[in-house]
Symmetry: C2
Subunit: 332 residues, 2 copies
């Protein structure tokens, strides 16, 4: 590739800081600017923040317009999971003719859950000739793109069981906090009731898969339960006492009539002994696909976002999803 | 879908006869005509040929123009593996504004092996606003689309090992003949030297993967060896005596400089005890994906072709490959 794709990184929390070096090391990409609304970050240096010398000539700004002065072609947004919160930002960026790749879970397939926002973003993206994509390891790949693609092998699909069983011991701290590792069961249930312990995206994944199988779902469920530690466990910067919550077991179910056609098991806890990602298709033929050991979600999400950057530049304009644009790849 | 996609089935050998019922059972597809150049088939009935009553109102013709009178939107071509042999037919169909899905292995990714034909077909398809796609289980999915898509999870890819280990006991007769099951080793080597025992497509798969990883390969190899039967084995309509060829072990290798970056192992023999499809990516992170038991290639090829029919109607015009169009799915 003769000219590098210029990227602005928006959101410099743990995920944004982790993604920046992935972007910077690609021959085809250069980071042109970096934005965070935290005024304490203003003027700090991206290289220092990410502990990566390649990024030392990027000063962080709190002002989006500043960042857009650097003429990026793609904005990578790693801020929040809530589509309503992020959509004004997406629209503003799109209006400058800049493609968007975001880890916003609700952006991965908003066509059923938030159809009005989806349509608005789609129209704006088409008007300005750019692509908007919400992606990441999950939602975005393991529980939607991969199962959908695997059904290509099938004459008939009756149902899918999709498992993501993770050992959270080696994930970043915010992930362990998000799954409630180390807190009392009562506290877990309290936070659960408040909606604070919940992987966002199972519903989006179910609608994404259903859309490509021609299934008009009658209803979906998404339920959370704690996984309780059977013994005391610890890692570099964490301890989970016996009897405390070790993580989350969240199950999404989708129904055609009374028939459960999609079962998504998202189990993430410290000390999980058999981590795996699996797609089991009941149909003709049966398909049983396993990623041995499971996929490290932090690395994979950063990789997927990075791999999406050249892809959105070539995709058809509009709000795209992982199942309606050409498959990504690790294009160095 | 309000209107069915009209399909003409071209080529009524074992694969064409197997695919027709798959097409006919889809709500969104109807077979409008069927063609075979064998004059002995002229006027016979597709339903009788395929033993499927849904197809009994389709008379087989040897005349392509006859078949095109039925106004198909998509032609499914299951004739030969040789792109030079099939390309005039593809061009003729495309000139009528009809999309093409073909199991022609060399059509799956002809950009490197036959670039002039590829460019000609691409131009013709774009001129007439249609999509041309070569696909099937392999090449088309297991050793190219799936590994390419799996690299999406990766920050870096050093090399890929792609295995397709098949038990040929339950495949159709022409497949067992193609892999030399049941013949003497000397006869196997004679046919091998003539190029008659060879899975077509490993080279195409290697170039397909490389194209999406940004690898400009320095060279590729594709070598065949017999698998010899360690004991006498038999099935419904076949016997392989001890010491005879039980099948083929074909290995494709692709190199960047002296470094082997792609290794494709295609082993198909009767009596294989550990059939599997596997993609192992050496990189960051390591990815080890297995389809337990392997995929039945006959069923999967028919399914993939059927699943490609709605996909080509929505794809961008031109010569497409499985790695540069949106992923297929089992859209009923």
């Amino acid at each position: 590739m003769s000219r590098k794709i210029r990227v602005t990184q928006i959101g410099l929390g743990p995920l944004g800081r982790m993604i920046s070096p992935y972007l910077a090391e690609r021959k085809s990409i250069e980071i042109s600017s970096a934005v965070d609304i935290d005024p304490g970050m203003e003027g700090r240096n991206l290289g220092e923040l990410c502990d990566n010398s390649r990024l030392s000539d990027i000063d962080i700004t709190a002002d989006l317009e500043d960042a857009l002065q650097a003429n990026p072609q793609v904005a990578v947004i790693t801020t929040v999971s809530d589509l309503d919160a992020i959509s004004p930002l997406v629209e503003r960026i799109v209006s400058h003719g800049i493609h968007v790749v975001s880890t916003c879970e609700e952006l991965s397939f908003p066509w059923v859950t938030k159809p009005e926002v989806a349509s608005r973003l789609d129209r704006a993206a088409k008007k300005h000739g750019v692509c908007v994509l919400g992606t990441g390891v999950n939602p975005g790949f393991l529980m939607d793109f991969l199962p959908t693609a695997a059904t290509t092998l099938c004459r008939e699909v009756d149902s899918l069981l999709i498992e993501r069983i993770q050992d959270a011991s080696f994930r970043r701290l915010p992930f362990r906090q998000k799954i409630g590792a180390g807190i009392e069961e009562s506290e877990f249930r309290f936070r659960m009731a408040e909606g604070k312990i919940r992987h966002v995206g199972l519903t989006e994944s179910m609608h994404m898969v259903a859309s490509r199988l021609g299934w008009e779902l009658d209803r979906t469920e998404d339920n959370v339960e704690p996984v309780l530690a059977e013994k005391t466990m610890s890692g570099d910067d964490w301890v989970v006492e016996k009897g405390m919550a070790a993580g989350v077991n969240q199950i999404g179910r989708a129904f055609l009539g009374d028939r459960e056609v999609l079962t998504l098991v998202f189990k993430a806890s410290v000390g999980e002994t058999n981590p795996r990602d699996r797609v089991k298709i009941s149909g003709i033929p049966e398909v049983d696909l396993t990623l041995a050991g499971g996929v490290n979600g932090d690395i994979a999400t950063c990789a997927i976002v990075t791999n999406a950057v050249p892809a959105v530049c070539e995709a058809n304009p509009g709000l795209r999803t992982m199942v309606d644009m050409p498959p990504l790849s690790c294009l160095r």
